[in-house]
């Protein structure tokens, strides 16, 4: 089985601060990590490799420094990593990103494509589904369980109030949520072995044979107009009353403000 995992390096948003003047993220000095949902996607690919045997290839679009995230994926047990990196990709929105990744994946053999549900720096959840559309594949999003069966895969898709079990033939694209699994750590033996045994392939816009008009800023129908932070809530009011009186107090406040 050939598995492709789409993976993005993102700033660790737990560590990110907002520039109060411009409303944008301050990225300097913020550690970069593998996007958490993508790590679940990678873990599931590695589990399929452990149980059924598979070749796991990581694909990432990003600047050269994203190599470090691909190295981490190799240290976790991936077989191969491809970084798609080119100035032509700068300013990509989700559609241009999907065009880039889909063109990359077209160069590869695949039975299953895994992506994370969404990236913590953008929260769009669009890239996985868009890749499936561009490749003409079935897709199942919000995946919380994967099983290999004779005809393909049996996949559990999470809903807010339940789940759906779906049997699907490969090739297929799945997007992972954190409930899918608990990602493993890097293996120390892989950490030392990978620098001798594995190279990260770097592909540019020519290598992926994509139509250049659908890449980067030119291929991006959406533009960020403005980013802003939410107004911080004011200081709350702490009341210390017995439960009954506290409830009455809350109700009176809600009425006072015309919420009820």
């Amino acid at each position: 089985m050939n598995i492709v995992v789409c993976l993005k390096q993102v700033p660790d948003t737990n560590e990110v601060k907002i520039d109060q003047k411009t409303g944008t993220l301050i990225r300097e000095g913020v550690p970069s990590i593998i996007n958490p949902d993508d790590k679940n996607a990678l873990e599931e690919a590695l589990r399929l490799k452990d149980s059924n045997g598979a070749h796991v290839t990581i694909v990432s679009m990003g600047p050269p420094q994203a190599q470090i995230a691909l190295r981490e994926a190799l240290a976790m047990g991936a077989d191969e990593a491809i970084l798609v990196s080119d100035r032509a990709f700068a300013g990509s929105d989700t559609l241009a990103t999907s065009n880039t990744l889909a063109a990359t994946i077209r160069q590869l053999d695949y039975d299953v494509i895994f992506a994370g549900r969404q990236a913590i720096d953008g929260d769009t959840a669009q890239v996985g589904p868009e890749i499936a559309e561009l490749l003409g594949l079935p897709q199942i999003t919000y995946v919380e369980k994967v099983e290999v069966i004779n005809s393909g895969l049996k996949v559990r898709k999470a809903w807010e109030d339940g789940y759906e079990d779906i049997e699907v033939k490969t090739p297929v694209l799945l997007t992972a949520i954190k409930e899918l699994n608990e990602p493993r750590y890097m293996n120390i033996k892989n950490i030392f072995g990978m620098y001798q045994e594995k190279e990260i392939k770097t592909w540019n816009a020519d290598d992926i044979e994509a139509d250049k008009t659908v890449l980067g800023l030119n291929g991006s129908p959406t533009k960020v107009k403005k980013s802003m932070t939410k107004e911080p809530k004011g200081q709350g009011e702490l009341i210390q009353l017995p439960p009954k009186e506290a409830a009455q107090f809350v109700i009176s406040k809600l009425k006072e403000n015309h919420f009820i």
């Binding site: 470090i68 190295r71 981490e72 240290a75 890097m186 120390i188 033996k189 950490i191 030392f192």
Partner: protein, 379 residues
Amino acid sequence: MNFTLTKEQEFVRQMVREFAINEVEPLAADIDVTERFPRETVDKMARYHMLGIPIATKYGGAGGDNLSYAIAVEELSKKCATTGVILSAHTSLCAGPIDMFGTEEQKMKYLVPLAKGEKLGAFGLTEPNAGTDASEQQTTAILEGDNYILNGSKIFITNGGEADTYVVAAMTDKSKGTRGISCFIIEKDFEGFSIGKHEDKLGIRASSTTELVFTNCMVPKENLLGKEGKGFGIAMKTLDGGRIGIAAQALGIAEGALEESTKYMKERKQFGKPLSAFQGLQWMVAELDVKVECAKLLVYKAAFNKDNGLSYSVEAARAKLFASETAMEVTTKAVQIFGGYGYTKEYPIERMMRDAKITEIYEGTSQVQKMVIAANLLK
């Protein structure tokens, strides 16, 4: 001169740090109280090749270096010094001497499962009457046919009750003094070998510290490690390596306590402002920070020397002396910063202080490190 870690070393730090936060820290307070050996943690460490970091891949190891191993002990010890010493004793004191002095057959039979983490290792040198004066070995090993017959006992053996493989020193010829000491590889199931008293300790309470008892214990002569009569040198060389591990453990304890202290200083308010606003305490943590950094440089240098084929005996002694005394000072002052809360089990600081003390004692007391350093200065 380059103070930057390699990418591999950085990844090892990242991996062990994540492991320590998720798998080790949640158990630390509990196993300190119950003295339960964290076997599940050891199994997980094995899965990630943490138990054979500096051992070559052909012997089942991760094919890494001693500095990465030291970083692993350091990161574990930030959260739990017990877990740190389990790794240190296993790697430096058992896998280490077999790697350095074992025959190819011994390495295949004993080093491979140790490095893979299928077996846990321990080392037995100390006896009731042979502590700092390790030359006073009372345990005897008499060659009879194809076996050595061992009689005697070892005390204070780290991983004692939990290990599968032991490297043990014994007298093969008492008339020759230290030149009559030899080392042996012992399996836990050897006839005549048993585990004696389990120690009830001040710190590192979940590490298994026991007596090893040999009563006509039959050891096949092919389990002699190195040559007969060379055991004292093997033990001393083993301890040189072990001191890097213990120094790394002490460094980790000190760093862990300092991290907890600065975090607490920013949260805790007295006189209407956080503790971090008081200059007396600012100076205290600044001084501790400098000592921690000095300890780190000494530990890393000793490991670097070992990795690069340079002498590391004095370097390891310096590192262990300074790092262990720094651990004691930082943890003691950390309790002071936490005040009454620091004295309780509500915070990890009192445990860190209890754990720190042993680093000034085992694998050579601070005084022994000074002997090693002075002997080199005055030779």
